[in-house]
Homo-oligomer: 332 residues x 2
């Protein structure tokens, strides 16, 4: 572990919280041992929780949380801007320089539209960069000059390209890719080189509920909001950072309860959940809350802090950006 990792970690987390609190977000403690409503971000990497091998301690399956999103979403109508901070768990079988089974996220939800959301992300990332540069200037952490320059020269607005444009651009850059494919880490690197190693957003991914006439590999969360001006696309984005890669996933959310329930039930995720023993009841509390308290247009995102730290450090291995890295091969 590099000597200043704890200090860097400390400054970055402090900067993240100070920024969110200055912007009026309230911290919410969300559950991390959950039903599928906190665990279905990626149904293939669910950790199940039990006290014995029969898994009968709970009445329903208990999972480790992948996201606090729905818990935060449920509070936006009453509270407004909310955030949470804590671990996200993925049963990721790969042991390599890009994957951990546990990583820290700050997540936010607020009553805004997609454009407002991207602005929130730019502000958060810019605040982190400023604190890292300042800590380096004060010699509290050790950052190479190249990193400092990279972090000091962030534009006010980051480049934004749609998923469709990213596919076209990758084709022009010589990549063998077709529309509907996932934009892999190697492909992100090609785009980063094209954009001079500056952060950029990929927006408007294919709507998983739309009949695209083909199977699409890239699959997004069921409650992302369809874009009224771009048929078959949702108002979602991934922020791609040098070194970190895909570091912030975000979207405007569906807040109409009938539409939300319909999309949930039709999603591939939900069908896989049923086959694993989950049920619609896993989302019952959220549906009930939306029905009784009503919803408001809102949007949110999750900041993957290990990848953001990679970006600050210029570190290619995520395991070197985390104090106690956990993989399938190594838990302590």
């Amino acid at each position: 572990m590099r000597d200043d990792l704890i200090s860097l970690n400390h400054f970055i987390f402090q900067a993240a919280r100070n920024h969110l609190e200055k912007e009026g977000y309230k911290e919410v403690i969300v559950p991390r041992l959950v039903r599928a409503s906190g665990a279905c971000e990626n149904i293939d990497t669910l950790f199940e929780v039990s006290v014995d091998k029969n898994h009968t301690w709970f009445n329903s399956p208990g999972y480790l949380a992948q996201t606090g999103q729905l818990y935060l979403e449920s509070l936006v109508p009453k509270i407004g801007k909310v955030y949470c901070s804590g671990p996200s768990f993925r049963a990721e079988p790969k042991v390599d320089n890009r994957h951990l089974i546990e990583f820290h996220m700050f997540e936010i939800e607020l009553a805004t539209d997609f454009k407002g959301l991207l602005k929130e992300i730019e502000k958060f990332i810019t605040a982190i960069a400023a604190v890292a540069v300042s800590a380096a200037d004060q010699k509290l952490i050790d950052l190479p000059t190249a990193n400092r320059e990279r972090l000091s020269s962030l534009p006010n607005q980051f480049v934004k390209i749609t998923y469709d444009e990213a596919i076209e651009l990758l084709k022009n850059l010589g990549e063998k890719i077709i529309w509907g494919d996932d934009i892999s880490s190697d492909r992100e690197k090609k785009l980063l080189a094209y954009f001079d190693q500056q952060p950029f957003f990929i927006t408007h991914y294919p709507d998983p509920m739309w009949d695209h006439g083909q199977i699409i590999e890239v699959e997004k969360f069921f409650n992302m909001l369809p874009d009224p001006e771009k048929p078959g696309r949702v108002q979602s984005s991934d922020l791609i950072l040098p070194f970190g890669g895909e570091s912030v996933g975000s979207a405007a959310r569906v807040h109409n309860v009938e539409v939300m329930v319909d999309r949930l039930k039709k999603s591939r995720m939900f069908n896989r959940l049923l086959s694993k023993g989950g049920s619609f009841e896993d989302f019952g509390w959220y549906v009930k809350k939306l029905k009784t308290e009503g919803g408001v247009p809102h949007a949110g995102c999750g900041f993957g802090m290990a990848r953001i730290l990679q970006w600050v450090l210029g570190e290619t291995d995520i395991r070197n950006a985390v104090t106690f890295p956990s993989t399938r091969a190594t838990i302590i």
Copy 2:
């Protein structure tokens, strides 16, 4: 949920962090999916983590963390004052007004002695009370006058009684109790009444490694430091708060690696762990770190935030002090 619970929660957590950072603590992100080194606080309430019912995904059992203590301890020699903030999990079968299966803790470790540790706890609790009173004065949260007065009248030093004295006092108060028994929640209430509903410490619990000539019910963590002046007692304490009850568990720690390993191997906890499929290797990383980097005298504690919130609110049911309470009967 009371309307101002999110706000209260927000102010208290912010106050806790601000206090710790002002005091020079650095935040550390500790793992929450762990081997037994993060899960053996109470071996009878372990949650196991798996991806299927065979539980073969990890090479060793994976558990949900009960404490970040050893991870923090391992950093004290290099970093000094450290803290973590996050969930503690207990497979608590009771569904009542005192137990949750997931609750938030701030935990600290620092190079100090037992006396210094108790001072740190008093300062933390006093800082929380001051912020709660101030938020109530500004009408940001709604606290009854009685609570405000209780929080405003904290003494600079809290009452401290030893476990032995607590047993004698309880006998004098008419309780049927013998030395070695656990001090239950009902017994805490009798002591709180005796001490005019002011916070108090119970210190110097029986050393689990000492031959007391009898079975002792009250069992503490293996690496608590034996008191050189009180044979058969360890330098540990529980802070008892009105409404919250036992809210802060603390101890000076054994830092000599041979003594620590010897105590670990002889502990009842460790023998129960072996029977559950755990091994000495679960602690291998910590033993190795102590051997290669050396240890320093240090101490630490865990602040149970739900119980501290109960104390602030004057709330008898822990489920009303948490935004998303989880019990065996209800996870969402």
